[in-house]
Every structure is written in C-alpha cells, then in structure tokens.
C-alpha cells in the first residue's frame, strides 16, 4: 500500500488533478467569458518558475513564495490583459501565445535567476509526511481542485456568472445596459490566470525539479484539447476531457497496456498525434464536446 501511495500512480494522479484545475480555469476563461487564452503554459510556468526562484534562489519561506508567485502571475496577466483584452479573439489568441513564448525564452536566457536549461530544483512537498508525502500532496491538490470546481458551480449560477456569460454572448448589448465589461473581463482574466500560476506552484512541489522545456506549447495544447473534448461550456468539461486524454494516456495505457520497450519511446509521439487528430474531428463534428451544450436552467 505504502508503495502504491508513493509510487508512480500517485504521482500521475497528482499531475492529472493539476491539469483538471488548469482545464477548469480555461473553461472559466474561454467557455464562460470567451477569452481565447493560448498562453496557459505561460501563466502556469510563470507561477511554477517564480515559486522555484523565490524558494530556492532567495530562500523565501514556502507559503510566502507560493503567494508571491501567484500574485506575480496575476499582475502579469493584468498587464497583458490591459493591452489585449479588448482586441478581437484572433489577436488575443496570438498575443497570449506570444507571452507564453516570451516566458519560456526568458526562463532560458536568465540563467542567473532560473539556472536556464540545466534546470531548477529542488522544490520539496509542502509538508513532510515521510513515505506518505506524495499521497498527502495528492489530497491537497485534489482538495484545491474540488474547491475550484465548486467555485465555478456557484459562480455560474450567480449574477456575476450571468454577467460573464452575457459578455461572451453580446458584449455591446451588455455595455448598453451599463455593464462595465472591459473592467470585469480584465479582473476575471487576471484572477483566473493568477490561479493558473498557483497551480503552477503546486505542480512545482510535485515534480520537485523543473526545466524550461516544460514551458513549451505542449501543455497549452493538451489543456485545450482536454477542454474541447470534455465540453468547453461545461464546468466538468475540464475534468472529463483531462481524464479522457491525460488520464487515458499517462495512466491507463502506461500502466495497463503492455508496450514493448522498443515502442515505448513512440508513445508520447503517438499521443500528441492522436490529440491533433482528435481536436480536428471534435471541432468539425462535435464542437460542444462529450458533455455537450448546457441546457437553460430554470429558476
């Protein structure tokens, strides 16, 4: 039992939970508010790396470092948001992709801060429970993710959620009713992106050691396909999609499907190949994802 709790399975579950959180945050940004954020890994990675830098390079206490990293990510999102959020969707997509690339580049160039391609470590678990630390971490990540999902639920049946939805449907109409849409979009984007940074800090404490390569577009792409597959407009879309992609590949197939050693290098390649194909097929034939459209709720 102890072996299971500290082994690969638990580690993978922990990663999956973090990705569920990311996909849910993306749902809030894209599915609810209509912001096409292609820079997910930028905010995630900024949180992750700044946490590592604060903790390891500057010896800032653990929780303070986590908080600072989250706030820093939120502030960067705020700055970016001010520049781009009232542009059209294509521009927002490209600009967020650009900022994520900038983050990756700077992590590589600023070796004095991030140790560059050599990698930065070691970030310990938030608490030391001996052999049960991994399991403890998993519970922590799980609790936070569940809280996030609960927040999303309550949000979407609250006046604020209705406002965000209306902004996505018809922003000029919402403005003509006196809603300060620019401001609200900015605030919400900053907070959800900051939370992506928070989950980045959490992830850092799971993987313990980080390299710039983790900040490549693969993460953003995986989160997107997970959300689109699961159902972008549904709160549980992120959960369903993540389980069906990462859960399927990184856990089920890895653990239960016997693959000869020669082929095992191919698995990540095939996985992303399938993701690409899957994304195309879903967008063409079932754009609302597995969970489909939301029905109008009655009050």
């Amino acid at each position: 039992m102890a072996q299971f709790l500290s082994g690969y399975a638990m580690y993978t579950f922990s990663s999956i939970v973090v990705f569920v959180a990311l996909a849910t945050l993306l749902h809030l940004q894209f599915g609810l508010t209509g912001i096409v954020n292609f820079g997910v890994v930028g905010f995630f990675g900024l949180g992750m790396y700044s946490f590592g830098v604060f903790l390891i390079q500057y010896n800032i206490p653990y929780l303070v470092a986590m908080l600072l990293a989250t706030v820093l990510t939120g502030v960067v999102a705020l700055g970016l948001g001010k520049l781009i959020l009232d542009l059209d969707s294509q521009s927002i997509l490209v600009a967020t992709l650009a900022i994520a690339t900038v983050v990756e580049d700077l992590v590589i160039t600023e070796k004095w801060l991030t140790k560059g391609v050599i990698g930065l470590g070691t970030v310990p678990f938030p608490f030391d429970l001996g052999p049960f630390s991994q399991a403890g971490y998993f519970l922590l990540a799980l609790v936070l993710t569940v809280l996030l999902i609960l927040y999303a639920y309550k949000l979407e049946s609250s006046p604020y959620g209705r406002l965000l939805l209306s902004m996505q449907d018809n922003e000029p109409l919402a403005r003509s009713l006196g809603k300060s849409t620019s401001r609200q979009k900015l605030i919400f984007f900053s907070i959800t992106s900051g939370l992506m940074g928070l989950f980045g800090t959490l992830h850092a404490s799971n993987i313990h050691f980080m390299v710039p390569r983790m900040l490549g577009p693969g993460v953003t792409f995986t989160v997107w396909i997970a959300l689109i597959l699961g159902g972008r407009k549904r709160i549980l879309g992120g959960l369903v999609g993540t389980l069906a992609t990462i859960g399927l590949f990184d856990f089920v197939i890895e653990t239960f499907v016997p693959i000869p050693a020669a082929q095992s290098q191919l698995l990540p390649v095939i996985k992303l190949w399938i993701y690409g194909l899957g994304l195309m097929l879903i967008l063409m034939y079932r754009p609302s994802g597995i969970l489909g459209e939301k029905k109008l709720t009655n009050r």
Binding site: S158, P159, L165, S166, Q168, N170, S176, L177, I191, R299
Partner: protein, 254 residues
C-alpha cells in the same frame, strides 16, 4: 414639465466622406415623450448612437442634466452613459443567446454590488429583490415561456424594451420600438410609456416610421433629414408642414 435633459451642441459624424449627422444645437428632454421622424438615411439612429456613445462623434458636445446637475458626457464610455441613466433600445433585434427571458431581466436588474467575482452566493438575494418587479412586467406583457428564450421577433423586441425599462433610465431613446410588434402589444407599450413619463422622472425620445403613433403619443416632434434637424413643433404643426410632406411622405400624407 420636466426640465431639459440633454443639450447637444455642434455635433457631427461622417462616414467615408458622407456627412450623416450635422446638428448645431438641440435640446432634448423638455417634454415627456418627444418624437423624431424623418426619411430613411436621415441620421436618426446615428444621432441616437452618438448620444449613447456607441459611435464616436467627429466633433461636438453632449451635456447631460440629471437632477439639475450639469455633466459633459461627450467622452464618456457607452456603459458609463447607460449607468448615468441614458439608455437606448435597439433597432435591430439584439439578445443574449444563453439567457432565458427571466435571466435577461435579472441581468439588467443586477447592480454592481452583486457583480463581484467573489459574490457567488448572492443569487438568492437578487431574486428576492427583483421578484415583484419582474413578475409585474412578465404578467403585463404575457410572454409565452418566461423561463425559455424569447420566441418571436415581437417577444425579442419587447424583451429589449423591458431590459431598458428596468434600468429606470432618466432618458430613454427608443429606436422604432414597435416595428414587428402586434397591435395589442404596441398599445401596451405606448400606454406604459405614457404612464412612466408622467409618474417617473423619465423622458423619451422615440424614433418611428408609424406616424399615427407619433402624432398620438408625442408632445413635441422633431423632423430630421439629411443629417439635420429641420423642424420642431407640435404634432399638428409638423403634420401640416409642406417640407415634411415633400421630403418624407412623397406627395400626400398617409
């Protein structure tokens, strides 16, 4: 008689070299209901969009007088102006795809205090606060399925109007509000408008092509053509005017 609400000075708007609106001086809101008529392309909708700042004026000044204060709103944003109490209904039907009729009204009625990202438990309070008012409107206009979408074009138009009304505007701009509405609903809308302008501190500027309606409800009528306000007068005066007859109605009046 309410005091003036809006003073528009030297306002102009051109699109691609063509002047669509060019008005030197216009004071609105001195009467309960004011009518604005004119041929297509006269610039009526554009003028309204300039006031609400949906469109940016090339030059000019719009001064607003809520409760006797003076406020230059020429450079304020669209949503600010709506919050100040100047609201416009839509000529082309606009709606929120994801919201039911009731939701639409709840959206309109929800105020800033409810709309914070951390206020996720406030739906109950909002429902309680707005229940009576929403029910009143729903009953008055009789929507087929208030918990669903607005079904016909007429229902959508009505919903658009009610969304604006629940904001309790001081100055309401209505852009052909009865186009697409059945006769009985038109009467209901106009009765409600008359009632509101008498009981509340609201002025209405109504653009319409249905001239009988204009003569019926307006206390003052403006005639606009080619971007300018050419005439101002009582319905009787405007009705009989030769310029109106020629520029708008062709040869003889309907």
């Amino acid at each position: 008689m309410p005091e003036k609400k809006l003073h528009i000075k030297n306002i102009a708007k051109s699109f691609g070299g063509r002047t669509v609106v060019d008005i030197a001086d216009l004071t609105l809101g001195t009467h309960g209901i004011e009518g604005l008529i004119g041929p297509n392309g006269a610039g009526k909708t554009t003028l309204m969009n300039l006031i609400t700042h949906k469109l940016k004026m090339d030059h000019g000044q719009v001064v607003y007088y809520p409760n006797g204060e003076e406020m230059d709103i020429s450079n304020r944003s669209m949503d600010e102006i709506a919050r100040f109490g100047i609201v416009k209904t839509n000529l082309i039907i606009q709606d929120f795809e994801s919201l039911s009729i009731r939701d639409s009204l709840l959206l309109s009625l929800s105020t800033r205090k409810y709309e914070k990202f951390y206020r996720i438990f406030s739906e109950g309070a909002l429902l309680k606060e707005t229940k009576a008012e929403i029910e009143e409107y729903l009953e008055y206009f009789h929507f087929e399925n208030p918990d669903g979408h607005a079904l016909s074009a007429g229902e959508k138009k009505l919903l658009d109007i009610i969304r604006c009304l629940v904001l309790k505007p001081k100055f309401l701009l209505m852009d052909e509000p009865t186009a697409g509405l059945p006769e009985d609903q038109t009467i209901k809308v106009m009765d409600l408008m008359k009632k509101k302008t008498k009981e509340e501190d609201m002025s209405i500027l109504i653009v319409e092509h249905d001239l009988d309606l204009i003569w019926n409800v307006s206390e003052i009528v403006y005639f606009m053509a080619e971007g300018e306000i050419l005439l101002k007068g009582t319905p009787e005066e405007i009705r009989k005017d030769r310029t109106v007859a020629v520029k708008y109605m062709g040869v003889s009046h309907v």
